[in-house]
Symmetry: D4
């Protein structure tokens, strides 16, 4: 129920076209999530800052297209699909040739956030090795689609320390630093010690044996001795970008 | 090596009191972390924003007191000790009677950040049940010691939904929301759907059986379907506060 | 041994055609499960209320058809096959064209419970996301085959709270609520707080990384802070329906 | 907001003492959980059927007493405290000498459900061994406090099959069967095959080595080949009783 | 070194063709496993009772054929290959058309133990469900190849108790009972309570979700409350048969 | 119901003092485990060969004494209590001064099997280190109480190979070999390669870190490359002795 | 910055073409890893002893070729690629026909260390079974490419003890012993007790069921009772060879 | 059998006092580990380089003293006891007042290796935090007792990078580097990238929550991207020192 609808109802009360009991009954029946005048604002803010993404992995191409069409029609914010199977990506590109597709990151950007000339902020996306690139790309491309400027810092594993240190200034000045690493997952601790910026650690499933599909990196990042490092799910580059978006939405440009 | 020391060295070169080879040799030997002119700035910024805390759990009272004395003497920022055993806390209070001690949170605040009248920002610390309070308090007291304003929202478990919803405005307007929950760890997903603010989830070891010391809550939070929720280690209220501090330090007041 | 057979034996004793030692010997040898007069009733009741389903996953099409034929011939209750591989489903449909097959749920209903006009009761099957639908369908279709009325409540994830709340009345009035959810598995806690009805939680293997094939959801549901929520195996929609059937069989219509 | 308050507000609108915009503003500000006219009914029903229990483990005696006093004062239903430490139990008994305390089950019943002469139903609480008794007692005493009649079937482990079989009739006729077992957790499968009644399996932490604190029993029960067996958390006798209560509340007496 | 070789050496000493120091040096260099006169007996006994089997899973067809040829040529005992991939099995059958192949059990019997008219003993191989049959067959066929008489008792899951009880005499009189079960792995506890015979429990990987590839059954069997039940690795029907063989080799026929 | 009772009943039928329907009714009501004439034989055999032991860990001294008294009174076989807390042991020794108590093994032997001059057989109990001795003793003393001759082979860890090899003959000639080992649990594989005798592996919780309370040894023993090695639960020396007893009971002396 | 560049800068200062502040500013901006005069030596030493290998698993053929070309061009040390997919190996062989490829070990040696006539030392690579050969080969071929002499000791599983003992001298005299084993992972403990040489244990993923992809072997090796045995990741033959290389680089030839 | 005993036996053969068959019989019966002439050398070498340590944790003071006395009497090498409970340490110090005891490391050195003026080599023992000191001390003191020179590098956690870098030369020049770290266990990767020396990583149980008693650090170290890093069990400082000893024994001084 939108505010104007509520006013209509109450006007009807004033005008005598509805009784007081009818108004009470109407309000009583309203599922509170449909009161509208309160939720709509919230929703608008949510949609502007945090558009809903399509998790394409277990959906048919038809389902993905249907949801995408709805989001394109009814919202004006960015529309992206994550973990898109190759075949689904082709369907999407056939339908929306202007969409951009990154096969490594399995991401399709159907519409980016409107570019008003001023990015929401600048984040660094740091990754430990070439094998971590798909997850780093998922984070970077998602962030860019949301209107965030991204500095990519790639292949700076902990065992080649100088490569990290060479990027110290980028790490120190970014609004948020996303650190993507597999294997022993040590990079976020190192970066967390080099920068006062917020650090979001993304463990990846890169590795074998005792890395147990990313578990080693995940546990290591959670146990980081660098204070204030926070962690996402394994391979969740998208989530890290959304966390960065939450932060940048709070800060005035 | 501080900039003035470097200038002295180079002045010696200009004056002829040291040779060019001696200068090269001197610079070559310098451990880079001691170049100073670069590291000092970094350190100052780090110290201002992110004071080093004392993890007291495996240390003797003497060790804790020694470190505390050093930090009190050589820095001007907040000094806190976390996971302080009861006995150690007594020693600290004997030595610094003005220190504040929260026995539940096992936290001792030896010196808060200087109060310049303007808090760094406002965060909400939400906790699911009375049993989660010690971890929530660790987060809240740490944040307050760092100069952050804290809104406490306690005992709003997911099974009593109306208690969460009653606090929706606090959740929506906070700069950062820290959500502390044990058992099934569902609260961050719920909060993440209600607010566009950054959400930091802290699993606690509250529970028994299949909660496996906080593992159930940890895995649930990492798997949250609310986009952009980030996670700390189990029971790491301190880490969540430091993550919030990293974020607030980025945003201009 | 049926009661009449026992009477025959004892009559033989009275008539002298068998000796007392022979009777003792005969009874001594009897496997007790064959005493019959006690077990048959149990079996009949069991079969009426809880028909045996065919778990088709590790069986050949021939084996499945053989068991199905036996159940169709010797019982009058519902006959269903679960986790049916695509190829096996085709064989079943070739043989019994009237059978109904749901490819997502991998379920084949060969015969439904006889429809006597009055359903056993009404259950709600609630699922968190589109990806959870196959498991929810397995639960719903199994229940319907058993003669239960099913209300489907789909795509009501915890991060979109209003969608759950909009269905509050359905949840409150159902005889049993089955809640199917993957990822963080928080939905049963939420539903458990909204309804006094029995809540059966079904974790699904939907998710990635730290969801560990449904483990996160399973542990979360077992650790639910909503009192009286019970849990099935991961992806066990069939089991949840059978648990509901057990409950409805107890309640007089 | 109660219905009469709403009516007052709307009457004020009709009488002109408040403006239309003031009414809209008032309704807009209302946290929906406080609309009252909808939630109160729900709460009343919840409280009647499912009284809130006090989880005493991590609470101080003062906290437990405070919550208990509130529940005794403001509700008329059963009031129980679970996992009560010995010391806290003493405090409770000092304050309310009429309370009943079971030290094994760590349960204190401060007030039972009012006895109106007709139990809600009859459940069987089956346990595998003497060591499982505390959990079985937690289930049984909780159920009795809620007004349920309980048949105790103790020490009927699977390796002594005849002891189970001797109780077959009790198992077959109960409204609900709660099966409490540790070690290999096989008893629910056995019972589930003997009775058409709803079976709630409660794994216990009894065992050593590969039982891993109840994990073996938990996994076994979740993997039960007896259709429709549902499971609670390890050692959660209370939860099983509440699940039974949810079921019995659905069935007309 | 065979006894005759040793005698030759010592004769050389007596004859003066080798010196005392040379004999000491020769013996000193001898790897003790090559002393022969001691090891040969052991080996013969080992080979007679416990022929080496070919674990074919990670081997090429050529490697399997090579080892098989060696065993056929140099020993007179049974020769079997386990976990034989389909393609390898075809190669083996092409080479040795008289070999017997069970595709379900993935077993190829190239030569059985010589049949001297008297089996080593009789064992029962009990399995819980149709899906457990391949593992049960691996146990049964291995045992038969070793000269053991096997009674198969199939599809006697715990939830259909009467089917187990009907076979009580077989279970009571067998020399060894091998119990093969997946899912909750309860069958060995049940059987262990019904028979005084040695019980070897074989967990299988049959199941899904919380059965975690056989882990649930494995832990349950290890935690069995039936005294004296022993366990093999998951799906290790071969190992159970060999354990039975070890036992029967001890008992005089 | 004992055979003579059954005969009495049937005689009554013959004599006319009870009717045929009364006999049928009586037999129908009999819990089959109470038929007696069938179960008693089984029980007698079970009791002779496999006396029930008292698992004392979670029982009060009173409970243990009560059960012990019953077993001493009503059976003539060995009576032992395992995992006996120190205090309970004192109570038992006060009551039965002739009982033997091994504090390390936490075992109390209240009555040994009657000594008829011929042991059931000879087993070897091999242990890897001094720290494994309590579990080895539990196995050895249990076996001795059952009338089995035990050869102890202690402190023969795999890293000191010669100590194992020195005992090769004992290992080769024992009827059963129980191998008790913690840490990496390699000893059973080594022994299994040295002897054709049945090998029962008992992992112990000795170790630290990655031994995870015996898990490392357990998994290693289950994965043993020595064919036919079977495994018990961690620290389950009692179970291993009972498994040996099952085997020896099968073999004629 | 190379020493000559630094000298140029300082000469400019002496000559007046740059000011003192400019020099300080230049040095201050230098990322320390680019100071060169310090890092280059380190790098040279690292490259000589420990050439960087290409982990090919998650890389495209193009990426692997690009990295390989760079290493071949800019270094003079060995160049190898590990975990090379079959297709990538073909591309590499097409480009560099002189490269050597081991399909089992998935290793491609593009250039071996220059052969100066004196190997760095001699290591033994011991493996437990045929199935462990690929990992053993990865270790052996890597070591050989680095200029180490390798003695292969294959198929010496712990259950066939004599095969190990026959190689005792090789084990005793090697500079380093690498022990590769799957299943129960006992071989390193055995070898560690036979040789005073450094022992590097490599668990493999060979096995099934409770070996959990190498976890059993890994935990066993970490828990080894042979003092001073160290462990690599599961299947990490390459890492073991590099650890040996680190050791041999320390020892003067 | 010592060489002289063998010579006596063979002389007897030459002299005719024993027959050829008697010699063969004697040799045949000899447990090969007692051949002596081969084993003794091995043992001597083993003892010189790798003295047996006393693992005191599960032993009584009497047992520890007994073993210590034997080692002091019969060997001339270092004698140490690890994981010594406080009470046992007191007993040892009472008996051998000259022994040295480190309470943190729980180590008692009863006799150091004889000091011949030249240490076996120099190792660095690096630890991440104050809490890791006990394990680092166990490593360092063990090494020193074995005659190794130790450089301690303490409190150089990864988040304070400059502290590690300041010690780069020590790390580069040590013969072996032992790296002791808990929490995320990242330090060995960092050190492994800084030094060409052998790196032995020791995970510690320091940490909480997701560090799971050292599991996080263990998995991280096993998954290290620094090539050639090897790992010991959690908290196994002793094992790391022994591994270093194995290496230094290989290298000529």
């Amino acid at each position: 129920m939108r505010p104007d609808e509520l006013k209509d109802l109450l006007s009807g009360l004033l005008e005598g076209s509805v009784t007081l009991d009818e108004v009470v009954g109407e309000l009583r029946r309203l599922p509170f999530h449909d009161l509208g005048f309160a939720r709509v604002d919230t929703h608008r803010e949510l949609r502007q800052g945090m558009p809903e993404a399509i998790y394409a992995e277990h959906k048919t191409p038809d389902q993905v297209i249907g949801i995408a069409q709805t989001l394109l029609d009814r919202t004006s914010s960015a529309v992206i699909a994550t973990r898109v199977p190759e075949a689904t990506a082709q369907w999407l590109l056939d339908r929306w040739p202007e969409a951009r597709h990154d096969a490594d990151a399995r991401l399709v950007v159907l519409r980016s956030a409107p570019d008003d000339g001023a990015p929401l902020g600048t984040i660094a996306v740091v990754s430990g090795g070439t094998s971590d690139r798909p997850v780093a790309q998922e984070a970077a491309l998602t962030a860019e689609a949301m209107g965030i400027k991204v500095e990519r810092v790639e292949d700076v594993g902990i065992a080649g320390l100088h490569r990290v240190l060479a990027q110290e200034e980028v790490l120190r000045t970014a609004d948020v630093v996303i650190v993507v690493a597999g294997m022993e997952g040590a990079l976020p601790s190192l970066v967390g010690g080099l920068t006062p910026a917020p650090v979001i650690a993304v463990p990846t499933s890169v590795g074998y044996g005792a890395s147990f599909g990313g578990l080693a990196a995940l546990l290591a990042m959670l146990s980081s001795c660098a204070a204030g490092v926070v962690v996402t799910n394994i391979d969740n580059g998208f989530g890290a970008a959304m966390a960065a978006l939450r932060q940048l939405n709070r800060a005035p440009r």
